[in-house]
Amino acid sequence: MGSWDWQVFLQDPGGKDPTYWQWLLSAWGWTVSVALSALVVALVLGSIVGMIRTLPNSPGWVRAGNAWVELFRNIPLLVQIFLWYHVVPALFPVMREVPPFVLVVLALGFFTSARIAEQLRSGIQALPRGQRYAGMAVGFTTPQYYRYVLLPMAYRIIIPPLTSESMNIFKNSSVAFAVSIAEMTQFAMQAGEETARPMEMYLAVTVLYIISAFAINRIMASIEKRTRVPGFIAQAGGGGH
């Protein structure tokens, strides 16, 4: 191994990218695209599922929401990616035309939606009961008091766990290496093998992962600051990877 050789990034990998550093940048682009698209899917689905788990007097919906969370939380992400990539297209012919990128985004998005649903549920339940009753008392319908009373405060409460979940989604996008997505981990494995300089490749990729996670952390921190309600202190929660 010996000394470093950073010139390796100027070599031609012989693919569609003229040099390794350009391939690395394109791989970074794939990582960011997968992570951000999956984050959107996860936020939308997680919000819906999290909300219906707190609906009053609808045990059927609550049970369905709980089942969703248990299903996507208790199967490893890699297995879920294999299910979307290999099993879903085989069982449902309409899914055969769907590009692999979309399948991986759905896999990561559904996986993360279960965690966000859990966080939003605990965020809504952390609010005093009186808030819900106040919304009902002024004549709001159920969608209205969720939209104008419960959700604005619940989302503020769960910004800290949402921040770590957004950073997790960047880290978890690395699992897409196992199917044909040209993201950073796959780049690290392939380029490391081709050039026989895995240390340089791994180090570059690791630094880019840390930069990505740090960037999303700063963005979430600024959102938290901008949306802060004076006098309202949100408590932190969450966990996991």
């Binding site: 299903l71 992400l77 085989a90 012919p93 699992v175 981990t185 240390m199 966990g239 996991g240």
Partner: protein, 223 residues
Amino acid sequence: MLANLDFSFYNWDVITGFLLKGLYFSLFLTVVATLGGILFGTLLALMRLSGKKWLDAPAAIYVNGMRSIPLVMVILWFFLLVPFIIGRPIGAEVSAIITFVAFEAAYFSEIMRAGIQSIPRGQVFAGQAVGMTYKQNMTLVILPQAFRNMLPVLLTQTIILFQDTSLVYAIGAYDLLKGFETAGKNFGRPIESYLLAAVLYFVICYALSYLVKRLHKKIAIIR
């Protein structure tokens, strides 16, 4: 659509030939990484809470570094670096065990740190007041209570850890998922194999998380 699924090749020979070996390794990896992770994680947590900068700073760098890198990359790094450091090649399985102990130590240390901090300061002072040394105070007063507070979170982390063991796929170690995949390839039935893998992982993880929930209720009542 579902008519052409065929699970019949999963007879006893296939289960013992392909799956049990993988299941044993996944479980072994989970147990070793949990025990090792708790041991080293506790040490890291104590370093971070020692109030001494030369102990706190390296532990903080280690923990935050591990937590900001994807596990797959950590697995790849260790597979590359460990043979380089010890000077001889090691198998994927041994590398996976070392990786998971080192990686989980970072996560368990954060859980331990929160657990130790959840113990009221009065307990520390009480220990000091009856003349206990730092070591006695920790092992006899603080840590037993912290462990008890943290048990549900520790066990939940262990379930996540069990799921994460599937990522040793990256270096080709033979775990439960690999067992299913190999069987699927050998019999030309990958779809059925992935489905069964998902079902088995779900059953194991759901059963464990159900037990953790019950334990949590039990502990919550006593406290």
